[in-house]
């Protein structure tokens, strides 16, 4: 690791201000992704602001009938929360499908949203990577790209977004609440929170310099059957090749979000609109504009089959 200095933030405003004022400063919460990348010198912060003691670890109802999840709520606690289990089952399921018990005990809600790609070329500092080193090229395009994204990709980057939790958040239309360096709070719809690579793959979110996530809010619960299906190379503790988050309504409608296939958690209105027409139609709508490589073209088929499996499961239950 490169040397860095360390401080504990005493307030949200202070954390944001410090982060904006110190070039190379980063927030640290769970640290499970940041420290990993710091050991490899892919992340090289000069100062770490420990935000673990800001009290942002509560889950509480909103006046609108939804839920406010503190930025520091650990993945284990969010998945096990009684309200989340009952009213936002897809979120519990997505969280439990991710990482290991040890990591979920440490990883936070905000940190999960901000985790970086698991593209092997991003991790291998001997390889070119526009995300790690802007302008250096992309080793993944033309490389071994089996795990990588097929939607939202660009000529500069085909890295996949690795999160399971964020896929459920996208499905549920969450909002990311932040405070900026100027002390001003704002709410960013999850659809706008993660940015597509384009020709600036090193920029991954709408957060501005110093801006800190304080909570994630969920709107009122969506009735219906909540499911999260993750397809991966191992039965446990592996990133998704394809994942589908879905809520099936009693009226035959449904909504869908996808992981493992997009440069960001993926959702399209057209896929939701096709819900009553079945798996094939939903897959076709969701995969519109997909750009595959020789190695990851299988993901299109896998999306359709994963959806088909969910539809069969739903029909068997009803």
């Amino acid at each position: 690791m490169k040397p860095f200095t360390y401080s504990r933030a005493t307030s949200v405003a202070d954390a944001a201000k410090t982060a904006a004022a110190m070039q190379g400063a980063r927030f640290i919460a769970g640290g499970t992704n940041l420290l990993d990348l710091m050991k490899l010198q892919i992340e090289t912060p000069t100062h770490l602001i420990d935000v673990n003691h800001l009290g942002l670890d509560r889950i509480e109802p909103t006046p609108e009938g939804g839920l406010r999840i503190g930025a520091l709520v650990r993945n284990t606690d969010l998945a096990a929360d009684k309200t989340v289990r009952r009213d936002y089952g897809v979120l519990s399921r997505a969280l439990l499908a991710g990482a290991s018990g040890q990591l979920r005990n440490k990883a936070t809600t905000a940190g999960n949203l901000l985790q970086r790609t698991r593209c092997p070329y991003f991790y291998d500092t001997n390889m070119p990577c526009n995300k790690r080193k802007p302008g250096s090229g992309c080793g993944a395009i033309g490389g071994i790209s089996r795990s990588l994204a097929i939607l939202g990709v660009s000529d500069a980057c085909i890295a996949q977004h690795p999160s399971d939790m964020a896929v459920a958040m996208r499905l549920l239309d969450a909002q990311v609440e932040t405070v900026g360096a100027d002390g001003v709070a704002r709410a960013i719809p999850i659809a706008d929170f993660h940015t597509l690579p384009g020709d600036t793959p090193h920029i991954e979110s709408a957060l501005k310099n110093g801006e800190i996530i304080t909570s994630v809010t969920l709107p009122k619960p969506i009735g219906g059957t909540h499911v999260y299906r993750k397809v991966r190379d191992r039965a446990s503790y592996a990133f998704a090749l394809v994942s589908v988050a879905a809520v099936f309504g009693k009226d035959g409608g449904g909504r869908f979000a996808f992981g493992g296939i997009g440069a960001k958690p993926w959702r399209t209105p057209a896929a939701d609109a096709a819900a009553s027409s079945g798996a094939k139609a939903v897959a076709e709508a969701a995969l519109s504009g997909a750009r595959t490589t020789y190695h990851n073209a299988f993901k299109k088929t896998l999306v359709e089959r994963t959806l088909a499996s969910l539809y069969r499961q739903k029909e068997a239950r009803s």
Partner: protein, 211 residues
């Protein structure tokens, strides 16, 4: 490569020096100041309660909790495997929860309570999980075992507390099963594949608890 120019010779000389120094460090027993890497930017005081004992350390902020335990407190029961959160050999229990000690900084845990394998039991007075691992042959080479045992102890507590897992059918009804144990132990890898015996050991301890 980092900016330090290492030659094979200097590396070998360095390794020899470390090897020669090791017995002295191990026999020191108590916390000792460790030389820090070049470019270090100031030490930070860290207070921990480790296995019931209060310890005060001065640490480079880069020090992981794992290195604080092993290098500074000489609690070498906790193992360094992959050092990137994949293998689980470094699992310890902090504030009652199992975590990967390699993926967290010691300075982030100032004031925290840590339990390592040395704190669970001793050779004279084994923790029930340690005894069960012996009874059921839950290891071969033993390198992953301290992490497996810390994880196993915490897993039974998680199940008792009703924390669901990926394989829990009904999120509100968490029950013990081999399937649950296997899923929950997936963050601990055993190169010798002692997995079935680890599950047997956990079942035995869980059964004792129920009785």
């Amino acid at each position: 490569m980092p900016s330090d120019h290492l030659t094979r010779r200097s590396l070998l000389q360095g390794s020899a020096a470390v090897a020669a120094a090791a017995p002295t460090l191990a026999s020191a027993g108590a916390a000792t100041a460790r030389p820090t890497a070049k470019g270090e930017t100031g030490m930070i005081p860290v207070e921990l309660t480790v296995n019931g004992r209060e310890v005060h350390l001065q640490l480079d902020p880069r020090t992981t909790l794992l290195d604080a335990l092993r290098e500074h407190l000489h609690l070498t029961g906790t193992k360094k495997g992959c050092d990137q959160g994949q293998c689980g050999a470094c699992t310890v229990i902090v504030e009652g929860r199992r975590i990967n000690s390699c993926l967290t900084l010691a300075v982030m845990h100032d004031g925290d309570t840590v339990t390592t394998i040395e704190g669970l039991g001793t050779a004279d007075k084994l923790h029930p999980m340690q005894r069960a691992f012996i009874t059921h042959d839950g290891y071969q080479c033993g390198y992953c075992t301290p992490g497996q045992i810390c994880s196993a102890v915490a897993v039974l507590e998680e199940i008792a507390a009703g924390v669901p897992s990926h394989v829990t059918d009904d999120l509100d009804r968490v029950a013990l099963s081999d399937r649950e144990l296997r899923e929950r132990m997936s963050g601990n890898i055993c190169r010798c594949a002692a997995y079935p015996n680890i599950i047997a050991a956990m079942n035995e301890v869980a059964g004792e608890k129920k009785a």
